[in-house]
């Protein structure tokens, strides 16, 4: 290889090695000897002796002649040992900083310097291989997430097959051997004196990045050390490093996210039965708080170094998911080498767990089920899950949901400081954990719910899969799970865009399993009531976060199970009800404070159910019994799934009769409820039909499992009867046949959901946003809107979106705010011919477009048709300031010519009217006076340079803080027509939604409550 130094015709730059000896060990001599063997021409050596052994200096002189030995106290930190080098040695261009465990291979320093010179690296490290077995890798640098978790490029112990032998940018190189540019070392002040244990190396590299330097792994240079020496950075030091090096604007997000990560780590530690991890995660915060002054001082020092914006450094970091995977890794596997091997071992164990008591059929079933799920979703995985029905979109920034949740901001409608829905935080957490962006998070949340339902059904079936000998009957579990997976309920919920149905499908098997196990109706060991309540409570709380009426559903299920159980184990019925009711109460408690909002009389049903329809749906009892509720068609074969239920009711004996009776009661009860909601216009709206039918699906599938068990107990080996054997045969055939339509549904590849949403067919509207940000008012049949809406009339709902993007929070409309009520009032005024200027009433709210969809998706898709009332269209057509635009036959689009841009500045002389309709109608439109409409901000802090005038932040002023050149600005109370109007002079405006300590405490308490409940539900103690 050509030597760039020689090519450039310059002398080799002077290099000083700094070797820190911490304690006597056999590798000291080898480490120093390797330095002596280096042939780099301008090399000087400094050895820092922290061993406290008086014989060491002499030994150093013998092995490394000419080295400067500097004895220090053994308690000296790494930084205190190394940092003086810049004072002790002058003229060096690079420092090579080593510890006493690392042995350099010949030529390592020269190669490090060559590449560092060539690539202008600030910090570089060699490829480190195992001291005993050089074919095993120890380190080739590491990536890092924003929390300071190191993610090694190579697993320690991984076989070296030259797969990492390219020079690459990394975030950090390990402490054992670091080449550091001397000028940068001086600039950034060397190592942080408060860090040790490897954190100081990460910190140095992080600050090098902030100072604009590159960090490289240079595999051509090799060093050796024992793979057993690799140790993780202590949790508190990692946390400190992240807190110190993160910029001020990112710091709140980091703290919030880290709190969430701590909660995850606590849960993960409990789940993986390594509570030490949970303790360490919590104690880290305690350590940081007790060293807060040091942290703040370090932050001030780092602030003076910043050359590169924080966001550029973040671009060098990896997502948090990379580290999260390591939480589940068995520490015993570290250093054992084969990454694939350890993965294989985990897979084998997982498979073994899946096969509990079973056969290879279990594995086959699960493989087939997962493959079918993936095949059936292939077009969604390959493309994008459209925003249809309640499949609302998620923000591109994964931090946003968590942050707005922690700040207590609900962006539904026009925004408010009402307690944000718990589901918002859960989705934010999910978005943090899942790579691939918001669309992937949405899709995998749905598919994950389906898969969760199957696993829950597997566990539920296990309760009834008890053979005559007491052993687990795998066939029962397979039968129940397969039937559950094949029922078209989840497919129809996805196809119709009803997230509630999918959530109920995923959660209810777990609920029923807990009710059965906690009530003792099933023959297995009795789960303690507290554990059962905790399980019902946690699962119910998760489901309630997305289906607010779910606790009521659980209560009804428990009552039905208890009713059916009266056929057998009547004494246990009371426990089922107790567990159901208490678990539901716990669900509501875990969703506080959001669940407290349900008490609002004007908003309760908007959250619990849906907008009341003008006419009954009229699917018919037959369709409900076949779960034929959506686009995935099911023929008469679908009735076959009911055969197993009839079979167990007729044939089952003993405890099986109790369970069968309970399942039958659940099925009959919820079919009747669903039928009533389908056949009549009830005075109160009910949840989506898939939510109501989810208990029926669970009952039918569990009956299939129970049927197999019943066959083993009550049919097999018994004398022939005109009922038992023929009915068993018929039920089996019917159940198998009934699966065909569900399995055939995978052919579509997208569960019949429309292949696009209105963001595609109406995309030209988004392109007009250069004139300012805007909102869209959607009105029409609730099933055609892109989000759950508010009631406008029976069968008619409305919602608002930010541009065409449906805010995630719109999944939980809640009670309309006063501002939202202005929209309803304005539309009703137009409907009553009280005004022909609806646009003028809506304009100050930033509503630029009014869209009335007649289908749930664009005209070129298969989206079903839901006609809006013609009078609504006539009303809008008659408005003088609404201009009809022809874009999509499936939606009437009107542009409001009197709209006021959001986040704009209105001219100072504009007389902004009040919110009273008469005053607004009498005023001239103020849209022409928007003199600047380019600032963009969300719930985050952001700044913009604005001209003098009235600044409109486009949302309610409550909770927001506006500062002009550092001075607080109060809202203009007279400009009540506009949302968040502030009189400002020309200058730099900072708009932020500040953190609230009260809200943070509430969020922390909620996280803690979830953790406690989760921990209680994990207990496996059983009552004999």
């Amino acid at each position: 290889m050509e030597d760039p130094i020689e090519t450039a015709g310059i002398d080799a730059p002077p290099v000083v090695t700094v070797t820190v000896l911490r304690e006597p060990s056999p590798t000291i001599a080898a480490a120093l000897g390797s330095l002596a063997a280096e042939t780099y021409p301008k090399l000087a050596h400094l050895v820092v002796d922290a061993t406290g052994d008086p014989e060491v200096p002499a030994g150093v002189g013998a092995v490394l002649p000419g080295a400067l030995v500097r004895p220090v106290d053994p308690s000296t930190s790494w930084a205190e040992a190394v940092n003086p080098v810049s004072r002790l040695v002058e003229g060096a261009v690079f420092y090579v900083i080593c510890d006493d465990r690392t042995v350099l291979e010949p030529g390592a320093i020269e190669r490090l310097v060559e590449e560092a010179f060539r690539s202008n690296a600030a910090v570089a490290g060699p490829k480190v291989v195992d001291l005993a077995d050089p074919t095993r890798l120890v380190s080739v640098g590491a990536n890092c997430d924003r929390f300071g978790h190191l993610v090694p490029i190579a697993d320690p112990g991984e076989r070296d097959q030259e797969q990492h032998d390219a020079v690459r940018d990394v975030f950090a190189v390990e402490r054992g051997c670091q080449l550091v540019r001397a000028d940068l070392f001086a600039t950034i002040g060397g190592f942080d004196a408060d860090l040790d244990g490897g954190a100081e190396a990460l910190d140095l590299c992080w600050r090098a990045h902030l100072a604009g330097g590159r960090v490289l792994a240079i595999p051509a240079a090799r060093a050796r050390r024992s793979v057993g020496e690799v140790a993780p950075i202590p949790e508190h030091l990692r946390l400190r490093t992240a807190l110190v090096n993160t910029g001020r604007w990112q710091l709140p997000r980091l703290v919030l996210s880290q709190l969430a990560m701590t909660a995850v780590a606590v849960v993960a530690g409990l789940l993986s039965r390594r509570p030490s991890r949970s303790v360490a995660a919590v104690r880290a915060w305690g350590w940081v708080l007790s060293h807060l002054a040091g942290v703040l001082g370090a932050r001030r020092r780092v602030a003076g170094l910043r050359v590169v914006p924080d966001r550029e450094v973040r671009n060098l970091q990896v997502g948090v998911w990379a580290h999260f995977a390591t939480l589940w890794r068995d520490p015993d596997e570290r250093g054992t080498g084969e990454r694939l091997g350890s993965l294989g071992a985990r897979l084998r164990r997982a498979v073994l767990r899946v096969r509990t008591g079973g056969s290879s059929s279990s594995i086959g079933m699960w493989c087939a089920a997962v493959v079918l799920l993936l095949v059936g979703s292939r077009r969604l995985i390959d493309g994008r899950l459209p925003v249809i029905g309640t499949f609302v979109s998620m923000p591109p920034d994964p931090d946003e949901l968590l942050e707005v949740y922690a700040k207590g901001w609900t962006s539904t409608g026009f925004g408010s400081m009402r307690p944000p829905p718990t589901g918002l935080g859960l989705l934010g957490l999910w978005d943090q954990l899942l790579p691939g962006g918001p669309d992937a998070a949405r899709l995998w949340a749905l598919l994950g719910a389906v898969l969760t339902g199957w696993i829950g059904m597997w566990r539920l079936c296990r309760l009834v899969a008890v053979g005559r000998d007491g052993a687990v009957v795998a066939r029962s579990m397979i039968a129940g799970t397969v039937v559950y997976a094949a029922l078209p309920l989840a497919a129809n919920a996805i196809g119709a865009g009803r997230v509630g149905g999918v959530v109920a499908y995923g959660a209810l098997p777990w609920i029923v399993a807990s009710l059965l196990a906690g009530s003792g109706i099933t023959p297995g060991p009795l789960l303690p009531a507290g554990v059962a309540v905790a399980r019902v409570g946690v699962v119910g709380a998760l489901a309630m976060a997305f289906v607010p009426s779910f606790p009521a559903l659980v209560v009804v299920v428990s009552l039905a199970l208890a009713l059916g159980a009266l056929m057998g184990r009547a004494a246990m019925s009371g426990r089922a009800v107790l567990v159901g009711v208490a678990g539901s109460v716990l669900s509501v408690v875990l969703n506080l404070p959001w669940s407290w909002e349900l008490r609002r009389p004007d908003g309760a049903w908007a959250q619990l159910g849906a907008v009341k329809m003008a006419a009954a749906t009229g699917r018919g009892l037959g369709a409900l019994l076949r779960f034929d509720t959506g686009p995935v068609g099911v023929g008469l074969l679908g009735f076959g799934a009911l055969g197993a239920l009839v079979f167990v009711v007729v044939v089952a004996r003993d405890w099986r009769a109790s369970v069968g009776g309970g399942l039958a009661a659940v099925a009959v009860g919820f079919v009747l409820v669903a039928w009533a909601a389908d056949r009549f216009v009830l005075p109160f709206p009910l949840p989506a039909v898939e939510v109501l039918l989810a208990p029926v699906a669970v009952a039918v599938a569990a009956a299939a499992a129970l049927g197999v068990t019943t066959f083993a107990h009550d049919v097999d080996g018994r004398v022939f009867s005109l009922v038992r054997q023929p009915l068993a045969f018929a039920a089996a055939i019917a159940s198998v046949v009934a699966m065909a339509p569900g399995i055939a549904a995978v052919a579509d590849g997208r569960w019949e959901i429309p292949r696009a949403d209105f963001t595609r067919s109406l995309s030209s509207l988004s392109a007009r946003s250069e004139q300012g940000q805007f909102r869209v008012l959607w009105m029409g049949d609730p099933r055609a809107l892109p989000a759950p809406g508010w009631w406008l009339a029976d069968g008619l709902a409305w919602t608002v979106t930010d541009g065409l993007s449906t805010p995630t929070a719109s999944l939980w409309p809640g009670a309309p705010t006063d501002t939202a009520m202005r929209v309803r009032e304005a539309v009703n005024l137009a409907g009553a011919e009280q005004t022909d200027r609806l646009g003028r009433l809506l304009g100050p709210l930033g509503i630029r477009y009014v869209i009335v969809p007649s289908r749930s998706g664009p005209a070129f898709t298969t989206a079903p048709t839901y006609f809006p009332p013609p009078s609504l269209i006539e009303t809008l057509v008659a408005q003088l300031d609404l201009e009809q635009i022809a874009l999509d036959e499936a939606a009437e689009v009107f542009e409001n010519t009197a709209w006021v841009p959001l986040r704009a500045t209105i001219a100072a002389d504009a007389a902004v009217p009040g919110a009273d309709p008469a005053e607004l109608l009498a005023s001239a439109a103020i849209e022409a006076r928007a003199v600047q409409a380019n600032p963009i901000w969300s719930a985050r802090s952001s700044t913009a340079t604005v001209p003098a005038g009235t600044l409109v932040i486009g949302t309610a002023s409550e909770g927001w803080k506006v500062e002009l050149d550092g001075a607080s600005v109060q809202p203009d109370a007279t400009s009540s027509a506009l949302l968040g109007a502030y009189p400002v002079d020309a200058g730099t405006v900072e708009v932020s939604l500040p953190w609230s300590s009260g809200r943070l405490v509430v969020a922390a308490v909620q996280v803690l409550a979830w953790g406690v409940a989760f921990g209680a539900g994990r207990r496996r103690t059983v009552v004999a």
Binding site: L621, V681, Q834, V877
Partner: protein, 473 residues
């Protein structure tokens, strides 16, 4: 129950339940709003936040040519914005004003935006108003109530483009007013006694948003002495009016400046007609439908003692117009009367009454779009000072089969009203009420109310055409 029987009964019950649940509820769309869809100019009687009126076009070259009168019949002042649109000009001129309660504010369009033709959009906030347009040219004076709503179809039965060999005679300008932001596409077709006609220039006519377009029908359809107009939009909604001037070189002289009818109907009423020496009266019937209309024309004499008439049956072929001379009605006598037109076979038609008055020094022609609705309250915004009211007449017709008591009240400043006259009308009767006792107000506005639905029309003075009052619904 024996389980064996349950095994049999359960599936059967299931099948029976599914079979019994075959009836499906009727699909029903959501109910939204309470738009009455009032055809033609009308006032809403319920409390109003705002109201909008559309005056599709009057000349406004110089002061007095075109005037828009805004009546506030309420007891609170009403703020109004008057936006004036010029022919084919996108730019508009707006002016704000306040209409005091019980008063009329007249806007002289030439002072706001002088032009060959102005359309006016009146938006009132704080209550209901009544708006009328009047025009005055060398041919004469005419006017009507403006439109209180837009529509996708408009009809005129009477009309002429017979401008004679020297270019004199009738000058027919159709005004198409699109007050909305979006463009409208309008098709205009024509009906004559000989059948339908079309003009390429007026098919798929694009009327840009917020503009007025004036169409010279003399160029589109040449020399048709009887021309009915049917306008329909392919997209958007508009308001259509006409400025039809007869210079007297032909049989007629006068100015028609009124708004078309947005609807067809099976019944039309004309309370204010009459024939006499030198006065001829015709009913023009236009049938734009595909079916022949069998129409009956009934005359109700103001003086029942002078005799009785026999209803005249008229057959109107599809896509044609028919002119009926009222004098041909059997039993007809000179004097005032009301006319009722009803379609016997349910085919809707358009009816207009034309009166040519050659009894005075200057012959005058007038054409009035009939009333197709009846109401218990009517408003008359335009009026004249008391010194000139000796010939002002209000005509009231009772189309019902029961007697009615009619009260004519003058609206005075402040919104109160005072009684002017009380008329008792028998079934199917008509009355003429001369206004000889009104206050010295500069403008005389009237409010007519009855205990059963009636129809009201007014003639301001001799030589000025009759105008239909505005119903309150």
């Amino acid at each position: 129950m024996n389980r064996r029987w349950f095994a049999l009964a359960a599936p059967l019950a299931l099948v029976a339940a599914v079979a019994a649940d075959q009836a499906r509820p009727d699909p029903q769309l959501a109910q939204f709003g309470n738009r009455l869809g009032l055809p033609g100019p009308a006032v809403r009687v319920d409390p109003r936040l705002s109201s909008t009126w559309y005056c599709p076009g009057v000349p406004a070259r110089q002061s007095g040519d075109g005037v828009v009168s805004i009546l506030n019949p309420g007891i609170e002042p009403v703020a109004a914005t008057v936006t004036v649109f010029e022919n084919e000009v996108v730019d508009t001129t707006s002016t704000s004003l306040t209409v005091p309660p019980g008063q009329v504010v007249r806007v002289d369009l030439a002072t706001v935006r002088p032009s060959d033709m102005d359309a006016v959009l009146v938006e009132a906030v704080g209550g209901e108003v009544v708006v009328e347009q009047r025009a005055r040219t060398t041919a004469g004076e005419g006017g009507s109530a403006c439109a209180s709503d837009v529509a996708r179809q408009w009809f005129f039965a009477d009309g002429s483009t017979d401008d004679g060999p020297d270019g004199a005679g009738a000058s027919y300008r159709l005004t198409v007013f699109n007050p909305f932001a979006a463009d409208a596409v309008v098709d205009i077709t024509y009906l004559t006694p000989d059948g339908p006609k079309s003009a390429q220039d007026t098919e798929a006519l694009v009327v840009p948003g917020r503009t007025l377009q004036v169409i010279n029908l003399n160029e589109a359809i040449r020399r048709e002495s009887q021309l009915s107009v049917v306008a329909s939009t392919r997209s958007g909604s508009v308001v259509i009016g006409r400025v039809l001037a007869f210079d007297g070189s032909g049989a007629r002289q006068g100015l028609l400046a009124n708004v078309a009818s947005p609807t067809l109907s099976t019944s039309w009423w004309f309370p204010g007609g009459g024939i006499d020496t030198g006065i001829t009266e015709r009913i023009v019937l236009a049938n734009p439908g595909e079916d022949r209309a069998e129409v009956e024309l009934s005359v109700y004499l103001a003086d029942p003692g002078s005799g009785s008439t026999v209803p005249l049956a008229v057959s109107v072929p599809p896509l044609t117009s028919v002119v009926v001379d009222v004098a041909s009605v059997q039993g007809m006598v000179a004097g005032p009367h009301a006319i009722g037109v009803s379609s016997l076979n349910g085919v809707e038609v358009m009816a207009e009454r034309v009166v040519d008055d050659a009894s005075g020094e200057t012959p005058r022609t007038s054409a009035v779009v009939g009333a197709h609705t009846t109401a218990t309250q009517w408003y008359l915004a335009e009026g004249v000072a008391s010194s000139a009211i000796d010939a002002e007449v209000v005509a009231v017709a009772n189309p019902t089969g029961s007697p009615v008591s009619v009260e004519i009240r003058q609206i005075v400043p402040g919104g109160a009203s005072r009684e002017v006259a009380v008329v008792e009308l028998g079934p199917a009767a008509v009355a003429r009420v001369p206004l000889t006792d009104v206050s010295d107000a500069e403008v005389v506005t009237l409010w007519v109310r009855a205990d059963t639905p009636i129809v009201v029309e007014r003639r301001l003075r001799d030589g000025v055409p009759w105008t239909m009052a505005v119903p309150a619904l």
